[in-house]
């Protein structure tokens, strides 16, 4: 069969142009050591119509936060408490009286819905199956058959460690896009981001086929985590780096080009249009050692759930929370550029919160804002904390 889709190439400026603009607003900066990112070429479908539901979505700048100390007890997440929290947050986000009405703002019965989980920190800190089950129930409530709801992520083996196959409702498929880093079988060869960051031999990152052509809507379920290269991993990182392959080439110690690659990836169609809702799992907040740490001393049982359609606004709030926690724990800011905080020793990084492997790049959030994916100015964010 001939593929009749047409594709267009566009070029995004590297990090330098995006970076200069918000450099002055970062108080922890005294100087910057990060070299400018190279241009990133994007190949995406020609003339793809951007959906009004796509990022930043129906409610730009709005972030609903709810927390309940009963949501996580003895490291176990309570599904009944999650149900109450999610129902309330969805109604607050949308202004709907009924929770089913809230889900209808995003999902239609004919949709093929992908729930993008984050299992990379499994088993200690990953998208809670209890939240996934409630999202499935919400999607199902608007008439989507269970067979049209897929839970997915990049690496099948990480999904296995989280036991998601066993824990999702009957009928829901669980899909690992790939087994290994450069496995291209699950990826669309025509949609990619191309850049040469460090002289790597494979300079392209391809979009997962399930996102390119299998799903009609995506609900993004990131966890609330520090990230040694990106600063935090939230909505943007979970979506961008979980959709494209060959992404860890964007960081090589001590430098990281997660700014601007994360935002650029999230801006590529059809990912941008299909990602209609973000539900951040803050049951366990990893404030150091992300994204993979299993060290319980860095995991706070925060019991937080955040809901929104604007991934930039949500990640901005997440960043504030991680920063606050780190400040309270007396460890350096994720904005730090102190070379003395760097280590080559992974074991040291996983045990010592004053150490890091890279100069973190929390600027990737502001870079995504520059691409129109949302709002990163705190004073412009409609942050509603439900009591």
């Amino acid at each position: 069969m001939i593929d009749r889709r047409q594709f267009v190439k566009r070029t995004c400026l590297g990090g330098l142009a995006l970076y200069l603009d918000h450099w002055a607003t970062s108080p922890a900066y005294s100087q910057d050591l990060i070299p400018p990112a190279p241009p990133i070429h994007v190949n995406e479908p020609l003339g793809a119509l951007r959906s009004p539901l796509g990022m930043p979505g129906l409610f730009p700048g709005r972030v609903i936060e709810t927390a309940d100390p009963q949501a996580i007890i003895s490291n176990r997440v309570s599904q009944p408490v999650i149900r109450r929290m999610l129902d309330r947050a969805m109604r607050e986000l949308t202004g709907a009286q009924e929770v089913r009405e809230a889900w209808r703002k995003f999902i239609e019965p004919k949709d093929i819905v992908g729930i993008k989980i984050n299992p990379s920190g499994a088993p200690a800190c990953c998208s809670s199956p209890e939240i996934i089950r409630e999202i499935v129930a919400g999607v199902q409530s608007v008439g989507v058959p269970l067979q049209n709801i897929h839970v997915y992520d990049r690496y099948a083996f990480e999904i296995d460690i989280g036991s998601y196959q066993t824990l999702v409702p009957l009928g829901v498929r669980v899909i690992g896009v790939a087994e290994r880093k450069l496995d291209r079988s699950g990826y669309d060869p025509n949609i990619y981001c191309e850049a040469n960051f460090f002289g790597e031999w494979e300079t392209r990152s391809y979009m997962a086929s399930i996102v390119a052509s299998g799903l009609t809507k995506i609900i993004n379920v990131p966890t609330m985590k520090d990230h040694s290269a990106a600063g935090v991993t939230g909505c943007l990182k979970n979506l961008g780096y979980g959709t494209f392959n060959n992404v860890d080439r964007s960081h090589r110690r001590p430098f990281s080009f997660t700014d601007p690659l994360i935002g650029v990836m999230c801006s590529v169609e059809p990912l941008r249009s299909k990602a209609v809702l973000h539900i951040m799992d803050g049951m366990r907040m990893l404030w150091h050692g992300g994204p993979l740490s299993q060290n319980s001393k860095f995991i706070s049982h925060a019991g937080i759930l955040m809901v929104g359609t604007d991934p930039v606004a949500m990640d901005t709030i997440e960043l504030e929370k991680i920063e606050t926690k780190r400040r309270n724990e007396g460890v350096p800011s994720v904005w730090s550029r102190d070379p003395k905080s760097l280590t080559e020793n992974g074991a040291e990084f996983y045990e010592d919160a004053t150490k890091n492997l890279f100069y973190r790049q929390p600027h990737h959030i502001a870079a995504a804002a520059k691409l129109g994916l949302g709002t990163c100015e705190l004073r412009q964010i409609d942050h509603r904390v439900l009591s």
Partner: protein
């Protein structure tokens, strides 16, 4: 069964994790090393000098256990997650294409196949000519090992990734709905079900009238085989996917926090605990006085006190368990490497 045979997951239908009579000695060298096509999530099985390995590329590969040379390969239409079982000259395994395959163990030719309509990762259990296995649609199947005809099927309340156990004319299996089910071996009638606090993908072991199983609710359970009553339970740090192993009065299990525990089978009292490097989802295997388990690397622990006797950065695997014989230890890694250590 010959001493060196290992025809099904965890050696035999007791599912007690090996219990093989072989005595442990530290492997001295790699006898051979090879790779199969595709990643491996399953454990190997062994009979009559052939080692059988299933992989994500859909291949069942028969290797000469002495040399590592490929004797034959069979290609299914989809990835294979399940550990195969050997019975009556057949290699039995389900695949992600919703089929159960029976392959001639000597030639690699397909004997028969039957369709279930759903992927299955559970290893088939063979008892008295009947194959029992569950699938992702929550259905338990009993089919004839002679030709694959359906004897009974039973819908349970959640997905089934747990490998069943057949004992005392009943079939026991864990389920994604959090229940342990007991079914009549002949009819599939549900005799009892015992709830836990979360889904179950661990495979139960049965010893001395007690069923042992871990749950994703962080608890390890000892359940009365006759009525499903919980005799005792023991709390771990995280969920339990690893299947248990039993030796005498000791039951060994591991949780996802990477901690291996030995408990007294009678009362659940802790005998020892040993923390390993990474999350554990693979089952332990007991051989003589040694516990083998894969956690980031392969470990051999002292059954008496849990101390580490030997370890090697080989065979990183999620679900795989080694095959331990007098002459060799066979390991698979997630990346598709197969090792014979002697």
């Amino acid at each position: 069964m010959a001493n060196s045979d290992w025809p099904t997951l965890l050696c035999d239908n007791s599912r007690t994790g090996g219990q093989s009579p072989q005595r442990w000695r530290a492997p001295q060298k790699s006898v051979w090393q090879t790779s199969v096509d595709g990643w491996v999530r399953s454990a190997p099985v062994l009979r009559d000098g052939l080692l059988y390995v299933t992989s994500q590329s859909g291949y069942l590969t028969a290797l000469d256990a002495r040399t590592g040379k490929v004797r034959w390969r069979f290609k299914a239409a989809a990835p294979i997650h399940a550990t195969p079982s050997l019975s009556s000259g057949q290699v039995l395994f389900p695949s992600d294409d919703g089929k159960l395959y029976a392959i001639d163990s000597g030639s690699g030719a397909r004997t028969w196949e039957m369709s279930t309509g759903a992927e299955s990762w559970a290893s088939p259990v063979v008892s008295k000519g009947t194959i029992f296995f569950g699938d992702a649609n929550g259905r338990m199947h009993a089919v004839s090992s002679a030709n694959g005809t359906v004897e009974w099927k039973r819908d349970l309340g959640g997905k089934i990734y747990s490998t069943g156990n057949v004992a005392e004319e009943r079939v026991f299996v864990g389920c994604g709905d959090g229940n342990i089910y007991s079914m009549d071996e002949k009819s599939g009638e549900i005799l009892w079900k015992t709830p836990t606090g979360n889904g179950i993908d661990s495979s139960p072991a049965v010893a001395d009238g007690t069923l042992f199983v871990g749950s994703l609710d962080f608890f390890f359970y000892a359940i009365d085989l006759t009525n499903g009553a919980v005799r005792w339970k023991h709390e771990a740090e995280l969920g339990i996917s690893s299947s248990p192993a039993v030796s005498g009065d000791t039951v060994i299990f591991a949780c996802k926090a990477g901690v291996v525990r030995a408990l007294n089978t009678q009362n659940g009292k802790l005998i020892w605990a040993q923390g390993l490097e990474q999350a554990i989802t693979a089952p332990p295997v007991i051989s003589g006085s040694t516990v083998w388990i894969q956690s980031g690397m392969t470990h051999a622990l002292n059954l008496a006190d849990g101390s580490i006797l030997w370890r090697a950065r080989l065979g990183y695997s999620l679900q795989s368990a080694p095959v331990v014989t007098e002459s060799a230890v066979y390991l698979t890694s997630m990346e598709g490497d197969v090792y014979a250590l002697g």
